[in-house]
Symmetry: C2
């Protein structure tokens, strides 16, 4: 059994007029051998009922019949033994936005977390938007300043949910001017791949076939730090501007993908799009 695909959305995906990303996500579920049920995880937000209803309507409008709430607001709830069974009955999980620290602090290390990873290894499709995108990587960005230069203190990192290792994912990327904070994260370990996803834009990640594809209306910025020649992050005091040389930057829009192993961009043919 293959590992499940990820759909990582940069926030503010169109839910009504041109819900291209949600449509492609639903198509992915329908094409899979999994049950036609999406569970909406609202843990990132404290307006869980409202968030759930928004996505329930959005998914129902585009033909997804079964949309279920996954409302977990405490570690006790996340540790309920029934999650092992419950998660396997879902075709996909969709992590809505809010605060990524709520996701990791409430879910990290619980029964739900373990059930999630087990089902993911067996093909569970997992999507997340905004905070639900940030939490995907092993190391996640908690906060940082908008339109700020890279400094050692311009980004605060924490351990993410580890669904997509060796990466740091940032969201609302161009719209909130987050290049500086992603560069600051990258400088601390150029081995990870920095992935900045714009609003109403997503990446479909197939870790088995080691590639990703861009969906949606804006762009995805991929920062490859392996080419970094020099950075002074280790010797620079907090708050002082960093210097980082030879970062390789790819800005990709729909029609483009990226090989994760060779770290090379690629064109994606229409007929391959979303194949899984």
């Amino acid at each position: 059994m293959d590992i499940g695909p990820l759909v990582i959305i940069g926030g503010k995906e169109d839910k009504t007029r041109t819900p291209e990303i949600l449509l492609q996500f639903v198509k992915l579920i329908q094409k899979s051998h999994r049950r036609d049920v999406v569970g909406v995880v609202t843990t990132a937000s404290q307006l869980e009922e409202q968030v759930f209803r928004t996505y329930q309507h959005a998914f129902e409008d585009i033909g997804m019949v079964r949309v279920e709430p996954v409302i977990i607001d405490s570690r006790a709830e996340a540790n309920a033994p029934f999650w092992y069974q419950r998660v396997t009955e879902l075709g996909a999980l969709f992590f809505a936005g809010g605060d990524q620290l709520r996701i990791t602090s409430l879910l990290g290390g619980t029964v739900f977390d373990m059930a999630l990873h087990q089902a993911f290894r067996e093909g569970l499709i997992i999507a997340g938007t905004s905070a639900g995108a940030a939490m995907m990587s092993t190391t996640m960005i908690v906060e940082g300043e908008q339109d700020d230069i890279p400094t050692k203190s311009s980004v605060r990192l924490a351990t993410g949910m580890g669904l997509w290792p060796h990466t740091v994912v940032d969201q609302h990327f161009t719209q909130r001017g987050r290049l500086g904070r992603l560069l600051a994260a990258l400088a601390q370990n150029p081995g990870v791949l920095g992935v900045g996803i714009d609003e109403d834009t997503a990446i479909f990640v197939d870790q088995d076939r080691e590639w990703l594809e861009v969906w949606g209306s804006q762009t995805v910025s991929i920062l490859d730090g392996r080419s970094i020649g020099e950075s002074n992050v280790h010797s620079t005091p907090l708050g002082q501007p960093l210097s980082i040389t030879h970062v390789t930057l790819h800005v990709l829009s729909k029609g483009y993908g990226f090989h994760l192993k060779t770290r090379q961009p690629m064109r994606v043919e229409e007929e391959d799009s979303g194949e899984y």
Copy 2:
């Protein structure tokens, strides 16, 4: 006689508390064999008197005794024959901020423009901030959206004053989220060097020795488009997101420079700093 050095400032340089950039500019004039006089060009602004007084006070506060107004508000004034003589009597020109199109449309092709280039070839030191920075390159960015992704229409270009060929200079760079518009400019001709200068940050450019050095408190982003593997700028409709791969990005702060010929970043020793 060597070509004059350029001091290109990303706007909002500190004028009172830590006027590091203005101090280094004044030191440059004092070390040169030129007269100790700076002419402040206020053409970019319609508040010429106010702009002049601001810089007069700033320069006088740091020990520059002779600060002269160069107030040109029409092409007729710019075509006065005395500029040939007048410009040679200055040690340096400082272009204040405002609208770069006022600079190019009022000065381009006039006697002042020709006098400026002649004196520059003979060592005149030229500084510019904000609009006065943007106009330095041969092709200049006129406008573009903040925090926007690169699209063919996200940037509008015009012919600059051509003091620093083969480059596109942008300013207020990180603070106004201008990566997208500089990438869009670069994609249209990856042969130019894209240089994004932050506020209270400058580059000292020595075109004879083919290097630049970073001054000030923030960072300079250098985008080398020669490594671009693929861009779809030629086939993408206006307003649609561009894809641009393999851009080489250097983020440099004080203590770093850049070889213009080899296009490689370099460290700058304290004792070399500002040498000319």
